[in-house]
């Protein structure tokens, strides 16, 4: 095996381990800060680790329509998210840069969303079906936004390679990068939806749908699903940082690495504050909102194709 292959695989595995280790901590920070905003004490920062351990130890009750499919969906969901982790630069370059390009990233991100649909379908109860119909509707309007951002970046640097694109490429235009700034605004305004937090956690609205697609999942299956969701927060934050605020990542280790995680942390805080201060939107209101953002994103795409 060539050394580049070995280093790529090691880098990917390192990324996966880091994501797995850090994701519950980010969730813990989110819960703690939310609690402090709500004048409460909140759970300890390590609580999500305990929750996952507890769930993994519980009895696995097979209560959905097709339990085999449920198990498969859960593994697929976590696997998809962790595969994305292999492609995201986390303080260093993207480890598996040569193994795929931006298109693969887009499809993997979509696969994460599709896993929720499969999950609800496998569970088969009325509420989970309503949940996945909401998820489907919002995915149609939502997933293209990130895809457009990546494509805008690719257009500017003229290449689809991950290391080239995931390096602040949206700003690399021949002048004031209007398309970059527009895409920054669009993604900031829709970031809550990507990480499935209020005001856009519509498919899993607890008070309306009793957790929607996750309804028939308990014990280890639920643990892995929750792990996938927590990891999504980290992945998306990392992608956002790489695409839109990459400055400082080039610094020598460990400064660049620390800076990267500091930026991710700030983003998690921002997600928390917005989630704590907003009410949940209805699906039709959310779709209209995303559709508007999508129109603006296409505008940015057109500008990018002209070099702005």
């Amino acid at each position: 095996m060539s050394s580049s292959l070995i280093s790529a695989v090691c880098g990917g595995v390192m990324n996966v381990i880091v994501v797995l280790a850090v994701a519950p901590l980010c969730q813990g920070v989110l819960r703690k800060v939310t609690a402090r905003i709500q004048s409460r004490q909140g759970p300890p920062l390590w609580q999500p680790y305990f929750d996952l351990l507890k769930l993994l130890g519980k009895e696995d009750i097979e209560s959905g329509v097709s339990p085999a499919m449920q198990r498969f969906t859960v593994y697929l969901s976590l696997a998809a998210v962790l595969t994305v982790a292999c492609f995201v630069p986390m303080g260093f370059g993207a480890p598996m840069d040569g193994a795929g390009d931006v298109y693969l990233l887009i499809y993997l991100l979509t696969l994460c969303g599709v896993c929720t649909l499969l999950a609800g379908l496998a569970a088969g109860s009325t509420y989970s079906l309503i949940g996945i119909s909401r998820e489907m509707m919002s995915m149609i309007a939502l997933e293209p936004l990130f895809a457009v951002a990546l494509v805008v970046g690719a257009m500017h640097v003229g290449s689809f390679r991950l290391n080239a694109v995931l390096n602040g490429s949206v700003y690399a235009s021949s002048g004031i990068s209007w398309s970059g700034l527009i895409m920054l605004g669009v993604i900031v305004l829709s970031f809550q939806a990507f990480v499935q937090r209020v005001p856009f956690d519509i498919s899993e609205a607890e008070t309306e749908l009793m957790e929607g697609p996750l309804m028939e999942y308990s014990g280890p299956k639920l643990a892995l699903f929750k792990y996938a969701q927590m990891s999504k927060l980290v992945i998306y934050s990392a992608l956002f940082v790489a695409l839109f605020v990459p400055w400082g990542s080039g610094l020598w280790y460990p400064l660049g690495w620390v800076l990267f995680w500091a930026k991710v942390f700030v983003l998690v805080l921002l997600v928390t504050v917005v989630a704590a201060t907003h009410a949940r939107y209805r699906i039709d209101q959310a779709i209209r909102y995303f559709a508007g953002l999508l129109a603006v994103a296409f505008l940015a795409l057109i500008l990018a194709s002209y070099g702005y």
């Binding site: 009325t126 119909s133 607890e206 008070t207 704590a276 009410a279």
Partner: protein, 560 residues
């Protein structure tokens, strides 16, 4: 117009159909009529005289008069009159014409009459079982006097299920409840959904029916019942206990001492404060805004603490006895209560100022769960639901009780008819409550807290009482009786009427709006249902099948 004038109007129109009329005062009217004319008289009162429908009551009066009794209660809000149209029915064939054709709001009350007493409303357009469980045999009516309060019917059918109507074309059935995170109490709404829009709904409730009225009529005494009444509801307990003792006092023409009336008023308003603060938090939680939920509860907590200091408990005040109250508000407590109110007012003003401009919440609540003036009139809606539709009814002003005739306050209305208007009405009523408590604290007179009652209460008297609960009008009907207990006690909670309008409010709206529409009437299912089953478990651990659990709960036990 006072009660006498209304009686003259009825006499002028119906003449000989009126057999007897009781006028205990200017504000109460009891008219005894021929059963065949009940429907016409009710139509006249509801439509022509524009009264508000309150409740229909069925009673088994056979041990005393040999007949069944039916009462339809109405309220003339502007005249401050509560009126009851009563008719005696033959014991061998208790039937009466249903008034639902003229008064659609009587839907549930007549079904309950049929389930519990066995009086059949002839011509009711939807005579399905309402209160009794599905397996209960057809001919056993629990509120009849020949049925014991702990009677277990032999032929209870485990397997029988409730027959729901068929869903309309193209709709799927989405079951909402009995287990749902939003509902605090079990109830079942069977939604017929097309995509995300709700096209219809069927309600099956009364899963927490506890047999309160039967217990009050069989085993408890006059002064035991307030302890039971305050447990009808987890939030508005004081309201029910005050309404009950007021009904008894009205029946026997007793007036509690002024200080007791002030104490009752203060405790009722404290209850309104904590209920409205809780509700605003709950509404925010339903739309996903947990932060405001936490903040509302934090602001509300000192109200619970002061209630605990005054009465000894945060919520079950154990306040009332017939003829007075048990706890006093000492000068130290007055000072402390004033502090609590000042702090509460300051914090709540900040919250109201913040929420009023919040477009995010308004997007979820404006235009949702609409109940307009026609629905309010036809379904007999009460409380903030009615006031948010512009109908200014409030029992504190319309049927003054306790010390409300001695304090000044505004009745808050809004014009939006939707959930947001209800939010605004409830938020603003908090300030009115604070105003009322402050006035009471100043005007309170010294004096005894309870009447010295030396004689037994007279028997066979009718009493009505309407109290403004945080959710609307809570109406109690009492017939005093022998052995230190009432012959009949009927509790009509505000949610009883408001729930009947839910299918109309959620029609053609989205599922996501269903929970907030339901939440906006501030449902209190415990008030609405009124039975309980006692579940005993042996010390050993074993998985019980549903059948075994059911059999265990139904095995006759040595009382109690």
């Amino acid at each position: 117009m006072i009660a006498r004038d209304r009686l003259e109007q009825l006499r002028a129109k119906f003449g000989s159909a009126i057999q007897r009329a009781d006028l205990p005062g200017d504000d109460r009217l009891y008219v005894f009529v021929e059963p065949a004319t009940v429907k016409e008289i009710c139509r006249y009162i509801f439509r022509d005289l524009d009264a508000r429908y309150v409740i229909s009551i069925g009673a088994d009066d056979r041990p005393y008069s040999g007949q069944f009794l039916v009462a339809h209660d109405f309220a003339f809000d502007k005249d401050h009159v509560l009126c009851s149209v009563l008719a005696y029915l033959a014991a061998d064939n208790p039937q009466i014409d249903s008034i639902t054709e003229a008064v659609p709001a009587a839907n549930w009350a007549e079904r309950e009459m049929r389930d519990l007493v066995g009086i059949v409303p002839v011509g009711h357009r939807y005579l399905k079982r309402l209160v009794l469980p599905d397996g209960w045999p057809e001919d056993v009516h629990p509120l009849r006097k020949d049925i014991r309060w702990d009677h277990v019917p032999k032929d209870f059918d485990d397997e029988r299920e409730f027959k729901f109507d068929n869903p309309p074309e193209g709709c799927t059935v989405v079951p909402f409840g009995p287990f749902h995170p939003t509902l605090d109490e079990p109830s079942h709404f069977r939604l017929y959904v097309e995509g995300e829009m709700v096209r219809g709904c069927e309600y099956r409730g009364f899963m927490a029916h506890r047999g309160i009225e039967k217990m009050a009529e069989s085993v408890l005494g006059y002064n035991d019942i307030p302890m039971l009444a305050e447990r009808i509801c987890g939030i508005c307990g004081c309201v029910h206990s005050v309404a009950y003792v007021q009904a008894v006092e009205s029946a026997v023409a007793l007036k509690p001492p002024p200080r007791a009336e002030y104490v009752r008023t203060i405790m009722l308003e404290i209850e309104r404060l904590h209920s409205h603060l809780l509700w605003v938090g709950l509404a925010c939680h339903i739309v996903g805004f947990d932060t405001l939920f936490m903040q509302s509860f934090r602001i509300r907590e000192p109200v619970m603490w002061i209630a605990e200091k005054i009465t000894g408990n945060r919520k079950t005040y154990a306040l009332c006895v017939v003829g007075g109250v048990r706890w006093d508000i000492t000068p130290e407590l007055k000072i402390e209560l004033r502090h609590v109110l000042d702090k509460l007012e300051a914090e709540w003003r900040a919250v109201v100022a913040a929420v009023s401009g919040d477009k995010n919440i308004q997007k979820r609540t404006v235009g949702v769960g609409v109940a307009d003036k026609d629905l309010v009139k036809n379904a007999g809606l009460v409380g903030p639901v009615a006031r948010a539709a512009g109908v200014g009814i409030d029992c504190r002003r319309d049927h003054p009780y306790a010390a409300y005739d001695r304090v000044e306050f505004d009745v808050i209305t809004a014009e939006g008819c939707d959930v947001w208007s209800r939010v605004v009405v409830r938020m603003t009523e908090v300030f009115e409550s604070i105003k009322i408590i402050r006035q009471c604290l100043e005007k309170m007179e010294d004096g005894p807290l309870q009447l010295a009652m030396k004689d037994e209460l007279p028997v066979g008297r009718l009493g009505l009482s309407s109290v403004e609960a945080p959710r609307g009008e809570s109406h109690h009907f009492v017939i005093t009786g022998e052995n230190n207990r009432p012959r009949r006690w009927r509790v009509r909670a505000p949610t009883y009427q408001n729930l009947q309008a839910i299918p109309a409010m959620i029609k053609d709206q989205q599922i996501a709006d269903m929970t907030i529409s339901l939440g906006s009437i501030d449902p209190c299912f415990s008030c609405t249902d009124r039975l309980e089953t006692i579940d005993l478990r042996s010390g050993s651990t074993r998985v019980w099948s549903q059948k075994e659990l059911w059999n265990l709960t139904r095995a006759p036990k040595a009382s109690p």
